[in-house]
């Protein structure tokens, strides 16, 4: 490999900067002093207000009395005879005064800036720009809105606060990053790339998320360190970031002491709270299993009896043998070996295949005998949430420092899991001299979390959903061990005790992350400046999965699973960024201000991953790779894998920003980006934007004085999404030193996806108080990167191609109403609304299906021209007569052969019956005659021998089919909500402050796989028939699997087949009380001094929804692998709207005590 030459180059550059700095320090001489006070309109003295002279690169802060002192050396004055002094404070409109460069006193009185129109935005622009002067939409969230959320992840703290940011906490596992989608989707297939935006922290571009250990994202950032977050949702705003910013940008600025007065300030905060799970997992409380006449013992199957279908019922007197469930559970679990003994088999066993007439004549109405345990209650174990935070900021003349330390522990709410622990430290330092600004930032985070990979059909939450009330998960056997198989029913490993797994299967990850950056700004002339920056983001993560030797399983004989299992994964990523720019400002004709900038950038990312795993451990208790052994036949059981990638990028841009009369704003940008991720035949791509804004209310002729700000803005811009590393290369499979088949046909012309956005917006303010913002955008995401199969004749199976266009539309609105704002009492409301959709408008390859990678969801989505992206598909049960086969439609309706039942499904009832007659007329056993005129086909074969293949049982739901009898695959729902809204309310009375945030999603559908699969084992709460009128009860088969032709053993029930259907696709609309806080400002606390506050905070407190799963805020995350059905997966939990045994979200309550010194 060639060396890149980066380090020596940067070393030289840094030496150059240092020498420049030294040369700049030697100029201190006599001085001019300007001083004064800064107050609000009400006369309140404003501490930490910023008074500065931009052209002279000098800035000071006011002290507790609102006083400031600016000292200007002649060297700094640079012969200036007049100066413009500006004063700014958070929440106030800045004010400027033009004066002579002499010693004098200047006081400022600042007006409140309720809608933060004067906040300075630094992301997406080449120089800080006030919000009201932006020609595109950028949302900024300040520290105060973040730290009161009790969210450990900064992204989670944004939920409900940013219009257009669809943030879904798809997993409640402590430390799991939320999924995020800004605006409308821009990529069809994000497998391996995700939908996450580009994260920039203090100018440091963070590396992509680590996929192998579930790390990455923003989880390593202490929310208390954040000063503000700027969210660039569209490509127009994000075009400055080029080929990595197609999904938008989230830019975080951490705290510094730059805006503080001289001296040191310390803030301390301690939180203590607890987490639990708000909603319950609905599990049937009744059983259809046959019990003896005492209703306390369960009947047994007699082995070997052959049961022909027509006679396969179990007579009332067939309960010759029966067992006491708890006694047998104890017996089989107390077996001293590494497995439980095999339990007896039961007739009508919910864990086994149930066939025959039991499906039609057994109604799940019997309460389980004995003690009814609450498995979910045994599983959920509220645990502490604690946080300690200390921050010190200091300023001494030109030097500033900010240092913080934080330890957060969110243990979650699941028994035996320890949740998430994070320790962070940060040191930000700066120095400002006559013509230089230096900024250094560094942060270290160490976090650990467990419960990794417990979210799947087969892991702990799946097994929990298979636990009926009679099962005691906490029972211990005669040897003091947790039962391994507390559930005696059939079903093999799904009856594994989930608590045993959590107790004995360690799945831990640990991540260390260091981010650091150095930036220098040189302002040799009032009209010219240069910026230099270098930043580094390094992450190293390890994961361990360990089942010790002797791990118990549900059935014997002892085998691989009992031999122990160890997997160790390690991944590391280093990302380097460097850039240099030159900025020229000039004012023409007194009021035409121009800013021209040119920037050159370099980035490099190195990624390194290793994994090893194996069974057959030598001794107990050692998670050492050397402990992995060989199978009994002598085959080594170790498997290994690794990945080593390097990504290099270069870019440069030219930006021109013009403002005329402070009301006409034009911005233009052209950026060229090169990346090693692009095909070798297409290394460079071009992005850019053109933007304009008109502050109409600033026109002299403006005739609506009440509307004091009214800005129209329009922007067209582009940004890119890069291919994954492997995409451009020709590849063969490789394993154990053996080359396998060709896999990917290389593509040297692979280009990035180009997202072209057109954004129109209105920002306004009424009566200097009520702020509103409306933004509408359209995106055209061209050159979609898709994995396209190639003719197998070539030998390769696939190729990455640029093969389509995804067109998106998004709309967002926000409204800020400060109802009352007095010294003692204030209250305000903030409303947001957004909606976003995308459609595939062009596809250069044949239509195909893509999946979510959860079992049974491999063809959840259609990728075809005209398709609304995110629509998911499956089978539908007939709910109207028109969906029946043509031959049957005339026989549908009241009193006819087909009628709608109490659930709304059209079922076969036979003429003269109603769906309520099942029991009273003993109709459940009936079956539509073979070769019925309703379903027979004209060419139906030899009718004396064959039925038509489709079986319709009385009262059972009917699948909608096409003319050939094949089940139709129809749209079931949409992964993207129709719209979302939030309502935040704040109130303050003297020392008491309260707030709440409601966050709502409307119209999102979720395929509730957990509920659907619950039908299979008669454990879904829907199976429970108690409390129903006899006319409405349904037998087991109504919830069970498909009949012929799709399946031979079912009767046509709602489980149907493994995949999604309309019965288990649910409206997952919700309104959540996301946050609520109540804070009391204590003030100075006796001899302790300080400025104390006591705050109570709740997060995810209450969900209002009709959704039947654990939590409507759910999705299936990114999937592993890059081939097969998952290759073109949406790859994000926002879009993979599948509820498949994820951790439900945590409800957290905390009490926080904080003080400042």
């Amino acid at each position: 490999m060639r060396r890149t030459g980066l380090m020596p180059i940067l070393r030289n550059a840094l030496v150059a900067f240092a020498m420049l700095a030294v040369s700049g320090f030697a100029k201190a001489q006599a001085q001019v002093v300007v001083s004064g006070t800064v107050t609000s309109e009400q006369g309140d003295k404003l501490q930490n207000a910023n008074v500065f002279i931009n052209e002279l690169n000098i800035s000071v802060a006011t002290d507790a009395t609102g006083h400031y002192t600016l000292t200007l050396t002649p060297a700094r004055l640079r012969d200036a005879t007049s100066i413009t002094i500006r004063a700014r404070a958070i929440g106030f409109t800045p004010t400027s005064k033009l004066t002579t460069a002499t010693t004098q006193t200047i006081d400022f009185k600042l007006r409140q800036d309720i809608n933060r129109l004067s906040e300075v935005i630094v992301a997406g622009v080449t120089a800080g720009t006030e919000q009201k002067m932006l020609p595109f939409s950028i949302t900024r969230i300040d520290a105060a809105d973040l730290t009161k959320s009790a969210a450990t992840d900064p992204l989670a703290a944004l939920e409900g606060k940013v219009p257009g940011a669809n943030i879904t906490s798809a997993s409640g596992r402590p430390g799991a990053p939320p999924a995020i989608l800004l605006g409308a989707p821009t990529s069809i297939a994000t497998q391996g790339r995700g939908t996450a935006p580009l994260y920039v922290v203090d100018g440091i571009i963070l590396g992509d998320q680590l996929s192998a250990t579930g790390g990455g994202g923003l989880a390593g950032i202490n929310p208390n360190d954040i000063d503000n977050i700027e969210i660039l949702k569209g490509a127009a705003a994000a075009s400055l970031y080029g080929a990595r910013a197609g999904n938008g940008v989230i830019a975080i600025t951490t705290k510094t002491a730059k805006a503080s007065a001289d001296g040191f300030h310390t803030s301390i905060r301690a939180d203590y709270g607890t987490s639990d799970i708000e909603r319950k997992l609905p599990i049937a409380q009744t059983t259809g299993m046959r019990m003896d006449p005492t209703m306390t013992r369960f009947c047994l199957n007699v082995s070997g009896a052959y049961a022909a279908p027509a006679t396969g019922t179990f007579a009332a007197n067939s309960c010759a043998r029966s067992i006491d469930y708890p006694s047998v559970a104890n017996f089989i679990n107390s077996y001293p070996d590494v497995f439980a003994q095999t339990p007896p088999t039961f007739p009508v066993d919910p864990g086994s295949t149930v066939t025959g007439s039991a499906l039609k004549n057994v109604f799940q109405i019997d309460r389980w005998p004995g003690v009814n345990y609450n498995a979910v209650g045994q599983f959920v174990d509220p645990k502490p949430y604690t946080q300690q935070n200390i921050a010190i900021s200091g300023k001494s003349g030109p030097n500033t420092i900010f240092a913080s330390g934080n330890y957060t522990r969110q243990q979650g709410a699941i028994k035996y899991l320890n949740g998430f622990q994070r320790a962070t430290a940060r040191l930000n330092a700066g120095r400002s001299t006559d013509d230089w600004n230096f900024a250094f930032t560094s942060a270290f985070a160490h976090d650990t979390k467990d419960g990794y990979q417990e979210e799947d059909g087969g892991a702990a939450f799946f097994r929990l959903s298979r636990t009926p009330p009679i099962v005691n998960l906490e029972a211990v056997d005669d040897l003091g061990r947790l039962y391994i198989r507390p559930n005696l029913q059939g079903g093999g490993s799904q009856n594994f005790n989930p608590l045993y797994e959590l107790q004995n299967y360690a799945q831990n990850t640990a991540t260390n992350r260091f981010t650091g950056g150095a930036a220098a700004q040189w302002r040799p002339l009032t009209w010219f400046s240069m910026n230099f920056n270098f930043s580094y983001d390094g992450t190293a993560a390890t994961a361990i999965s360990f089942q010790d030797k002797g791990y118990r399983t549900t059935t014997g004989p002892a085998g691989t699973s009992n031999s122990g299992f160890l997997a160790r994964r390690a991944e590391a990523q280093q990302q380097y960024n460097a850039g240099i720019d030159g900025i020229v400002t000039h004012t023409f004709f007194t009021d035409l201000n121009t800013l021209t900038s040119v920037r050159y950038l370099f980035d490099r990312t190195d990624y390194n991953y290793q994994v090893l795993s194996g069974n057959w451990l030598g001794v107990v208790g050692l998670p050492n790779a050397a402990n992995i052994g060989s199978t009994p036949s002598g085959t080594p059981s170790q498997t290994v894998g690794s990945s080593l990638t390097t990504v290099r990028g270069l870019g440069y841009y030219l930006n021109e920003h013009v403002v005329w009369k402070d009301r006409y704003i034009v911005d233009g940008l052209v950026r060229r980006d090169a990346s090693s991720l692009f095909g070798s035949g297409h290394r460079w791509s071009t992005f850019g934007r053109g933007s304009a804004a008109w502050r109409v209310a600033q026109e002299p002729w403006w005739f609506i004085p009440a509307l004091d700000e009214f800005k129209l803005h329009a922007s067209v811009g582009s940004a890119g999404n890069r291919p994954a590393f492997v995409s451009q290369y020709e590849t063969f499979s490789l394993s154990s030193g053996n080359v396998g088949n060709p896999v990917t046909l290389g593509n040297r012309n692979l280009r990035p996806e180009t997202v072209i956005e057109t954004e129109l917006g209105i920002d306004g303010q009424l009566f200097h108080r009520i702020g509103f913002s409306l933004t509408s955008s359209r995106t055209d995401s061209r050159d979609q990167i898709l994995v396209v199969p190639v003719a197998s004749y070539y030998g390769y199976s696939q190729q990455y191609q640029n093969a389509g266009t995804l067109a998106g539309r998004a709309f967002e609105a926000s409204l800020n109403i400060p109802w009352v704002n007095t010294t003692n009492f204030s209250t305000s409301t903030r409303l947001t609304y957004d909606r976003a959709k995308s459609k595939i408008t062009k596809l250069n390859v044949p239509a195909f299906t893509a999946g979510a990678a959860a079992q049974g969801t491999g063809a959840l989505f259609f990728v075809r021209q005209g398709e609304e992206y995110g629509t998911f598909y499956g089978r539908k049960f007939i709910t109207s007569c028109g969906q029946l086969p043509t031959a049957a439609q005339g026989s549908c309706g009241s009193g006819k052969d087909f009628q709608a039942n109490s659930d709304g499904y059209v079922v076969w009832t036979g003429t003269g019956n109603t769906p309520a007659d099942g029991i009273s007329k003993n109709l459940w056993q009936a079956r539509l005659p073979l070769n019925s005129q309703f379903f027979s086909t004209a060419a139906g074969g030899d009718v004396s021998h064959f039925n038509t293949g489709q079986v319709v049982n009385w009262g059972m739901p009917i699948i909608e089919r096409d003319s050939t009898g094949a089940a139709k695959i129809l749209a079931l729902g949409h992964a993207l909500p129709t719209y979302r809204w939030s309502l935040g309310q704040n109130a303050n009375y003297k020392r008491l402050t309260g707030s709440f945030l409601l966050d709502a999603s409307k119209g999102r559908s979720v395929y509730n796989q957990g509920r659907g699969w619950g039908f299979l084992d008669f454990l879904s709460v829907d199976d429970q028939q108690t409390g129903k009128d006899v006319s409405n009860v349904k037998p087991l088969g109504y919830y069970y699997r498909a009949a012929l032709p799709d399946n031979g053993s079912g009767t046509g029930g709602l489980y149907d087949i493994l995949g999604p259907n309309s019965a288990v696709t649910e409206d997952a609309s919700y309104v959540k009380l996301r946050e609520a806080t109540l804070s009391f400002h204590v003030g100075t606390f006796g001899r302790l001094g300080g400025d104390w506050s006591l705050t109570g905070t709740g997060r995810n407190l209450k969900t209002w929804t009709k959704y039947k799963g654990f939590d409507p805020e759910v999705g299936y995350g990114a999937v592993s692998g890059t081939g097969g059905a998952s290759a073109n997966s949406p790859g994000s939990a926002v879009l993979n709207a599948v509820d498949a045994y994820q951790f439900p979200n945590l409800r957290t309550f905390t009490i926080s005590l904080s003080t400042n010194f």
């Binding site: 492997v726 290369y729 088949n741 003719a791 044949p846 239509a847 060419a939 039925n947 032709p1045 087949i1057």
Partner: protein, 578 residues
């Protein structure tokens, strides 16, 4: 000026990061240049090509042991297995009446349909890539014999993989070493039309082996006069000499010539003289592959499951063994030990049939008049092992499976149980010698040579089934037994016009019976490909799989279906009346 100098230096320094540094090598995945970089690697590619082709035909998909391809469906389509499970199309493909093979992205089994096609085409290409290297000027693996061995083997692998597709699918793009990859053929070639090319590729394999033999004889080379010996890993567990290699190839030639036929007319048109010659010149023993627990030498699991719902043997075919109670009535049907039998079973409508005890003279079935007795005969105790090596079927021991009435059976396949219990590892026949004997027998029957035919049939009929040998057959339609013996003969087959009663079969049926029992579960579509050529598949059964839509899609062609009422390539009413 000094500042400007430093600024210029910094700009220059960052600029130096540009240049040709943008490219980054892929250090994770091999490409073709690396794969074929060294002669030894080329030989490895060729050595692995048959494993890849075998795995694409009947192997497990990955190392998991799951056969997510067309084999499970082929089993139920020809009653080699019956199951109502939806997995891999077991139930749906085998249900009656037969429905078309949906060929689109919404079909649950679309991946299965494409697996064998794509895998085989890729295996062909792998072998062809090796051949291209071998043929390149000046290239050698080290010696002329090594080159000829690799060449022979590559042609064989390529032919095997192409044949798999030509036989199972209605058409294909045949892969060869002379292709210009940049210009793939725009049309597909019918399977029947592809066979001459495949046979030519096999002849090339034989020719290379013969040249190696000649070279070895002339020079007394490393092959010791036999030309070469295949490393045992190439056809796992078989260190074949060049002569044995040729025998193996001729065996496959015989199989493929017969199996490619879609209809009885096609089968009749096969060059049976060549089939007889190849079959008689093939390996004298079973060709066993030493299966392992990992791909490629791993047979898909569905073939060997004995679990309740995965596998059972519908009486549709094996009921023809029911030789003891011929002439019984349908009374007392619900009693599994009662009066039912094959005759009554086929006289009952499909939806009302019940599994019954097969009592037969054929020793490949368990003995006994009751279920309990047959279970004892099948092997007592917990060890699931056949008590004798010619017990191919077992009266299932405990729970009975579900499914369509006609699917239900008291029997499951037992022959490879011991092998299955050993982790599906160890020698497993992928081409039984009996298959070749019976291919020759079919040829003799079709040529009117009943003496030779009887001799071939009697080999397994007597040794394995302990059935009376065929004697005195002089015509193809003549029953193999007459009078009272006809009621207890094996096989007894459903007979026209109503197909509601069974009669003693003729020599062709006796040959078919032997071939089905001796080849069951040995290779891809063992019963299916024969049954379609014999005209025994149920009406409307697809006679082959369509080119998978995944293939037509990438060529912007419209996909089509096969089978089903009125569909393309749908079977006519079968010889057995269904």
């Amino acid at each position: 000026m000094r500042k400007l100098f430093y600024i210029a230096a910094a700009v220059t320094a960052l600029g130096a990061c540009a240049g040709d540094q943008i490219s980054a090598p892929n250090l994770n995945n091999p490409d073709v240049a690396r794969v074929l970089a060294r002669p030894g690697d080329v030989e490895s590619v060729i050595a692995n090509s048959f494993g890849s082709a075998f795995n694409s035909a009947q192997g497990a998909t990955g190392g998991s042991g799951i056969a997510a391809h067309i084999e499970p469906a082929l089993l139920t389509m020809a009653f080699e297995n019956s199951s109502s499970l939806a997995n891999d199309g077991l139930g749906p493909r085998g249900s009656l009446p037969r429905s078309p093979i949906a060929n689109n992205s919404t079909d649950t089994y679309a991946g299965n349909n494409a697996y064998n096609y794509q895998g085989s085409q890729r295996a062909s290409r792998t072998a062809a890539n090796g051949l291209v290297q071998l043929n390149s000027k000046g290239f050698t693996l080290g010696s002329a014999q090594q080159d000829l061995r690799a060449r022979a083997f590559a042609y064989f692998s390529m032919a095997f993989a192409n044949a798999t597709v030509a036989i199972a699918y209605d058409s294909l793009s045949i892969v060869s070493e002379t292709d210009v990859i940049a210009n793939p053929p725009s049309k597909f070639l019918g399977g029947f039309d592809a066979m001459p090319i495949i046979l030519t590729q096999m002849d090339s394999a034989i020719a290379a082996a013969n040249r190696a033999i000649a070279l070895g004889s002339a020079t007394n080379g490393a092959g010791g006069g036999t030309g070469f010996t295949l490393p045992s890993t190439w056809v796992n567990g078989n260190a074949l000499t060049a002569a044995q290699f040729i025998q193996m190839v001729r065996g496959f030639k015989a199989r493929f010539r017969a199996e490619v036929a879609r209809t009885p007319a096609d089968r009749a048109a096969v060059d049976w003289t060549q089939v007889i010659a190849d079959a008689n010149a093939a390996l004298p023993t079973d060709l066993n592959i030493n299966m392992t627990t990992v791909a490629p030498w791993r047979v898909g699991d569905e073939q060997h499951y004995l679990f309740d719902t995965w596998a059972q043997q519908s009486p549709m075919i094996i009921g023809m063994a029911d030789s003891v109670r011929a002439g019984c009535t349908a009374a007392n049907q619900s009693d599994p030990n009662g009066g039912n039998c094959y005759d009554a079973w086929i006289a009952t409508s499909l939806g009302n049939r019940y599994a019954f005890i097969i009592r037969t003279a054929d020793q490949r079935f368990p003995a006994g008049d009751t279920r309990a007795a047959q279970q004892v005969s099948s092997g007592a105790g917990t060890a699931q092992q056949p008590p004798r090596n010619n017990l191919y079927f077992r009266n299932r021991r405990a729970s009975d499976p579900s499914g369509d009435a006609w699917n239900l059976s008291l029997y499951d396949f037992y022959r490879f149980q011991l092998w299955n219990d050993g982790g599906r590892a160890g020698p497993y026949p992928i081409m039984a010698r009996a298959e070749l004997d019976l291919l020759a027998a079919e040829g003799y029957i079709r040529q009117g040579d009943f003496g030779n035919a009887m001799a071939k049939i009697n080999i397994s009929r007597v040794a394995k089934g302990n059935l009376p040998p065929l004697t005195g057959i002089t015509s193809a339609t003549q029953p193999i037994a007459v009078g009272a013996a006809a009621n207890s003969c094996v096989p007894r087959v459903p007979t026209a016009p109503d197909f509601a009663h069974a009669e003693c079969g003729n020599i062709l049926e006796a040959m078919k019976w032997e071939k089905r029992l001796e080849t069951a579960y040995t290779h891809l579509g063992a019963w299916y490909f024969d049954s379609r050529g014999w005209g025994d598949l149920p009406q409307y059964t697809a006679l082959n799989f369509p080119v998978p839509y995944q293939e037509t899609d990438v060529r912007s062609m419209k996909a089509w279906t096969t089978g089903g009422p009125g569909g393309k390539d749908a079977a006519a009413l079968g010889n057995y009346g269904y």
